[in-house]
Structure formats: C-alpha cells, structure tokens
Amino acid sequence: MKAGAPERLIVDGKRLDGRALDEMREIEARIGIFKRADGSAMFRFGNTHAVAAVYGPRELHPKFIRDPKKALIRCRYNMAPFSSYERIRPGVSRRSVEISKILKEALSQVVVLEEFPKATIDVFVEILQADASTRCAALNAAVLALADAGIPMTDLISSCAVGKVDGEIVLDVAGVEDNYGEVDMPIAVTPRDGKVVLLQIDGILTVEEFRKALQLAKKGCQKVYEVQKSALLEKYSEEDVNAVRDE
C-alpha cells in the first residue's frame, strides 16, 4: 500500500468526488480550435484536457518509407511540462512512445488510408492537464481533429477508461482513485460498429469482473460518442462538412 492513501475510496456507494460508480466526469469537446492546423479539436474529461491537431495528408519523407498503396498515420502523444504536479521533462519517454503507438494503431483502423497512397497524415496530441485517462482523451480529440481536417473515416472512435476501486468496477477513474485504485482499463471502440480498437489493463481482474468492466466501458464510450457528435454537429450548422462521412 502506498503512503498517503485514504482509508476508503467509495463511501455509501458514492465515490470521493461524489460521483456514482457508473458516472463519468463532465465531458467537453470542441473542434476547429487552432488556425494553422488542417484540423484541430479539444476533448476534456474533468481536469484531463487534450488538444489535437492534424496535418495532412501531406508528402512523406524520406521516400523509402512511403507506402505505395496507402497513407501512413504518424502520431505523437505529448504531455505539457506543467500538466502534472511533477513537472514532465520535455522529450519522449517510454510511456509516451507506447501511447503514441497504440493511438496510431487505433486511428489506422478508421481512416480510409487507401485514399492517399504514399502520403502521411500527422496527428499531434498535447495533454494540457492530466488527471487520468489522458490516452482516452487524446484519442477522442484526435479523431475529432481528423474529422475537422476532412479526412475520410469509416467511423469515429470513442474512448474512456473503467477501473476497479475499493473492489468495485467504476467508470472513468479520476483524481485520488487514479493513485490508489486497483485496476485501470482504458478502452476505445468504434461507436457504430462496436469494434475494439484499443484495450489495455493494468491490475488484477477476475474474468467475471473483466466482463462487467467491458459492459460498463461500452456505456461510457457511448456517452463520449454523444458529446463528440454534438461537437461535430455544432460545426455542421456553420459550414459544409460532407467530407465527414460518419455523420
């Protein structure tokens, strides 16, 4: 047991921040937040705040890494130095390399890569505030930025995390739960097809608990999807977004 842990994380069926076990934090999504990028978006779960920008499709250098049949997605997940209590040293870490890789792989499932042979689509995500589920927020923002850039996609991606806290399966772990909880399980699905495109577990779950966690995660992702859809529809009313196929 780590030092400083509170005695209980769930009291009378409520979590320390007052949420019910299956309740998410406040969610916010907006698209078109930057001028320079070809597409951009922000996504927020409570105090976890991600912004994403997309550049491309554009020429890929050097030539020998080009794929003659389809575009390559490159992804960089990065935490701002001041996003966390302990300053994050600039530059890549093993953690950021791994997260960048799984985000890239998830996005590659929905983007119609065959439309842009030899090209690259660059997705950059910055975590401006970090309070758990940063990779989920990153992915939710990234897919909106891709839509904002007019990149054709077969579906969106909606992501959230479930966890195990004080022996209970809960939705959207945050704050003190993140430090002292037992399990963290981020997941991402395509909301229309129900494909699992990202899935990780840290911590011990029985097979039965895992099944329960999966069901709760489905609900969470659906909630995220509603907010993403609203953000896209808000843009809809302003301009022609027929490039965004999934709406």
């Binding site: 930057f34 001028k35 320079r36 990028a37 951009s40 105090n47 912004v51 994403a52 920008a53 550049y55 554009r58 960089r76 990065n78 701002a80 130095p81 001041f82 996003s83 966390s84 209590y85 302990e86 300053r87 600039p90 530059g91 890549v92 660059d122 950059f124 995500v125 910055e126 401006l128 505030q129 970090a130 309070d131």
Partner: protein, 261 residues
C-alpha cells in the same frame, strides 16, 4: 511557389504603406491574457495575440543553487515549438528558433530582476522555477507572445507549501505568491521593405528581413535586446525600435495589471 508569391505580395504592400489585415504599422493585434489555465501548475497563462496562441506554465521544485548565489532561486525558461502549432515544427529537441525564444525570454526576466530570487532558499536547497512555454498556434510574433506568457504565468504563480518533516512539497496547496516586483515586456520591431512594423503575422514574417526585440521594464528602461534575421538595422532604426518598445510596453503592461489583484 505560393509561399513566395505571398512573400512578394507582403513586400509590395508594405512598401506602399499597407498591411494585409489593414492594421497600422505600429498596431498590435488584439491581445488576450487568461491565467490559471493549468491547475496543476504553480502558475499558468494562455496568451493570444490575434491567432497566435501560447501557453505558459510555471512548475516549482527544490534543487541545488548556483555555487555563487547559494540562497537564490534558479530560473529556467524552456520553449517547445510543438508540432501542433505549425506544419514546419518538427517533433524533437528544441531547434535554434525555440532556443532563441527561450533565451530572449529568459534574459528579459533575469535582467529585469523581476523575480525576487533572493528569498527563495529552503535550507540547503532553493526553489527551481521552471517556466515552460508551449506554443499551440503559430501566426507570427512568437517572441512577444512567449515573453508575455512567461511573465503572466509568473504573476499568476504561488509558491507551494513545503512539509519540512516529510521533506515533501505539497503541490496543490499554495503558500504565498511568487514575489514578482517588475513586469518586463518584449516588443519586437520587424523590418520589411525598409519599413518597421510591430506584431508581424506569420504571413508577414515570410517577408521579414530582420527583427529587433527590445524588452523594457516598468521604469521604461531597456533590460534586454536581441537582433535577429539576416537583414540589418540602421542606427536610427535601432533607436526608433527602442522608442516603440518603451511606448508599447506601457500599454501591454496595463493588460497584466489585473493578474495580481
């Protein structure tokens, strides 16, 4: 090709006394400063100048002082031109442009002595003040925006409590405001087609010959200066840039007046 056309268009326009966005040569775009945007930072600010957007955050930790100033805090400024902000920014360690911004901002803060570093010792350790500048959207004039972000975040900053028994910093529990006694402001004069312009946009900067950043303090004194670009300034132009900086510095300093209220 497109780029060069834009460059030539800017040059011609400026030669005729005009700017693309119809501003006067000595006008800034709208400046907005919002503090407290990163709650886990000791201080933070989002600065927008037109479409240029910069985030600055202050993180404090305890570390070793410089040998010749054993009781003074240590200031470290770092700039990340993250690739989110421009198609020309690459991931990787800071390049010469990011380093120049860091060093110009650093000199403005350091030489103006705006932070009272003297009282920032804690036992054998001192407070290390990391000012991180995160450029999110690049539409020109990054130096002025970065400098403004840095001083805004410093004005917003609170020193966290320190638990001496546990030898632990209690992040999230502010003790007292960081002592800031001056407000350095950087104002950069750009030179295009032989004319001097303030607050250049990215499009204008494609045609920029040289720039001169003059940082002034609240007394209207010069605290730092930096010439950049492969063009030149005449001695008269240098003096004009100083005047402009003193004048605009006063106006910009007013915008920051509210942070410490």
């Amino acid at each position: 090709m497109l780029f060069e056309t834009s460059e030539n268009y800017v040059r011609k326009l400026v030669a005729d006394g005009l700017r693309i966005d119809r501003r006067g040569f000595e006008d800034f775009r709208e400046i907005k400063v919002e503090t407290g945007v990163a709650p886990k930072a000791e201080g933070s600010a989002r600065v927008t100048i037109g479409n240029t957007q910069v985030l600055a955050g202050v993180k404090m930790s305890l570390g070793d002082p410089y040998p010749d100033t054993p009781n003074e805090g240590v200031l470290i400024v770092n700039t990340e031109l993250v690739p989110i902000a421009s198609p020309t920014f690459e991931p990787g360690p800071p390049d010469e442009n990011a380093i120049e911004i860091s060093r110009v901002v650093d000199r403005g803060i350091r030489e103006s002595k705006c932070i009272e570093l003297e009282g920032l010792g804690v036992g054998e350790k001192v407070w290390i003040i990391n000012v991180d500048i995160h450029v999110l959207d690049h539409d020109g004039n990054l130096i002025d925006a970065s400098a403004l972000g840095a001083i805004s975040a410093l004005l917003d900053a609170k020193i966290p409590k320190y638990d001496e028994n546990e030898e632990k910093i209690l992040y999230g529990e502010p003790d007292r405001p960081l002592p800031v006694r001056d407000i350095p402001v950087a104002v950069t004069s750009g030179k295009i087609s032989g004319k001097m312009l303030l607050d250049t946009t990215l499009e204008e900067e494609s045609a920029l010959d040289a720039r001169l950043t003059v940082t002034t303090n609240k007394n209207g004194e010069i605290v730092a200066m930096q010439k950049g670009g492969s063009g030149f300034f005449t001695f008269e132009e240098v003096e004009r840039a100083v005047e402009l900086s003193v004048e605009k510095g006063k106006e910009i300093r007013k915008i920051l007046g509210g942070i410490r209220d």
